[in-house]
């Protein structure tokens, strides 16, 4: 608060100082207007001083660069040299060189005779054409077709969308690994934590790869029967990629004491879309247009997590066909 007040006072004070400086300057200007070519020796001296200091700063930059290129010192010397050179130029422009004003006439546009002549020339050139519309139509057709043909090779730049946009690396039986390729065991997923998982033996980078896995206590699970099977022991996996704009859903809000804290939710840090894991990733808040897609899980005999199939819904940000029932590959 005090800092704000002081800044305000400085600005106001600055204004008062400037008013006085302006008055002095206006008087000097008036004098010079009467004698526009009278030299200002003081200004000339300042210009020379500024130029010499600029040279010194530039020299310092060279020395620093060769000896110890510290970013702060390099910026200070180089920027300082530029500032001093700029000061010299500004002083020269405002005080040293002649300050006469000049006048110029604005050009006037709108020569109707020329416009008429142009019109006449164009019309005359076409006066011997018998079937103007036919010729123009054919020319337009040729031009349009050639233009479209010229633009078409741009399509070579990219692949077609087809099915690749809906493909993920997840299949029934593909086991879940950590970032360090260690198999994730069901017992690691306790109720108050979240685990990031990836498909074993597949690339981790595609949007369909990363998972966020949490465990919901059985009495709280509210899933439709066909999805319940995909959440064994309440362990439920979702795509980690937010269906809003593709950021990683990297927050798990999990209260230690339910009555006084918000309920568990997966939250995306980009635009704060909030999803309810106990209801299969249902959107609670935020701009995402779809729920967080769930991946069915199974627990192997050895206690490891593996996928029970592909995601129930398409992952990642929405596009035209994202709500069509995806052809799930089991």
């Amino acid at each position: 608060m005090r800092r704000l007040l002081r800044t305000l006072l400085a600005v106001i004070g600055f204004g008062a100082v400037r008013r006085r400086a302006r008055r002095r300057h206006e008087e000097a200007q008036a004098r010079r207007a009467e004698r526009p070519t009278e030299p200002d020796r003081r200004a000339e001296n300042l210009v020379v001083a500024a130029l010499l200091l600029a040279a010194a700063a530039a020299l310092a930059f060279v020395v620093l660069y060769l000896v110890t290129p510290n970013t702060q010192l390099l910026g200070l010397t180089f920027g300082g040299a530029l500032a001093l050179l700029g000061l010299a130029a500004a002083l020269a422009g405002k005080r040293v060189v002649s300050q006469e004003q000049a006048a110029e006439e604005y050009p006037e546009f709108g020569d109707e005779r020329a416009q008429g002549d142009v019109q006449a020339v164009v019309e005359e050139s076409g006066s011997s054409i018998s079937r103007r519309r036919l010729l123009l139509g054919a020319a337009g057709l040729a031009g349009g077709a050639l233009g479209a043909a010229a633009l078409l090779p741009a399509a070579s730049l990219g692949p077609n969308v087809d099915g690749t946009i809906a493909a993920t690396p997840w299949r029934r039986g593909r086991r879940v690994v950590s970032r360090d390729d260690k198999l994730i065991r069901a017992e690691e997923v306790s109720e108050s934590t979240f685990v990031t998982g990836f498909p074993e033996g597949a690339t981790k980078e595609s949007l369909g790869a990363p998972l966020i896995i949490v465990r919901v206590p059985a009495p709280e699970l509210r899933l439709p029967p066909d999805r319940l099977a995909g959440a064994p022991d309440g362990i439920i996996a979702f795509s980690k990629i937010c269906p809003h704009a593709g950021c990683a859903v990297s927050m798990y809000r999990h209260p230690r004491f339910r009555p006084t804290a918000p309920k568990p939710a997966l939250v995306c840090p980009c635009h704060y879309s909030t999803f309810d894991p106990s209801r299969g990733g249902k959107l609670l808040f935020g701009p995402a247009g779809r729920d967080l897609p769930q991946l069915p899980l199974q627990i192997t005999a050895a206690g490891e997590l593996e996928a029970g199939g592909d995601f129930y819904d398409s992952i990642g940000p929405s596009y035209g066909r994202s709500r069509e029932k995806p052809g799930r590959k089991d």
């Binding site: 300057h25 934590t193 809000r253 230690r256 004491f257 006084t260 939250v267 840090p269 704060y272």
Partner: protein
Amino acid sequence: MKVRAALAALCGIGALAGLVLGPSAPAKPGPAESGRQLYVEGCSSCHGMDARGSPGRGPTLRGVGAAAADFYLRTGRMPLADPKDQPERSDSPYTGAEIRALVDYVASFGGPPVPRIDPRRGTVSEGNQVFSDHCMGCHQVVGQGGITTQGVAPDLRKSKPVDVGEAITVGPYVMPRFTDQLSRREIASVARYVDYTKHPDDRGGWGIGHIGPVPEGMVTWLLALFALVLTIRVLGEGTS
């Protein structure tokens, strides 16, 4: 017979007197006792007289351990004025000795002890990786803090290594717990990384808050453009 009965009666009266008058004024109360006293005065209204919690107000403290008690009390998150508020780091109203007494009292109900975290047993690069995978979604990549819907993830500028270890163990308020996933060495690495974030590598100059484009935009407008507009006001003067 009569003598034995009289002796027994005397013993009984003595014992009774001892029970009634027993541990009073002259003897100083032991730590367990003062812990309990502090607890009753400051905590029982939400956590129950028997530390089993109070419905809708405060959780049970049975089994939370010294780790939780020490974390909440030493960082001033507890006592909490309104149970509905988010506990936040603040100055504790208790002295160090009082906190120790309370922690011992809560620890007597079992649960994880105060973890011993030595950051030197981890590496800052491992800490960076673990922090990126588990923590930065809430706490921001260099620990400047952040938010989730209906919850604040505080910045970590005042967090000591033991705070980091306790928070990871306890999962306070809406923070998850990570002890099942992280080894002791990884937790030490996280603590080491958190220490690093208090003075990150700022070889580019003034760090302006370490949260990226927002302060950078402020410098652009309030420093650079301000200076440049002032410059052209001076340069353009005297020409009209």
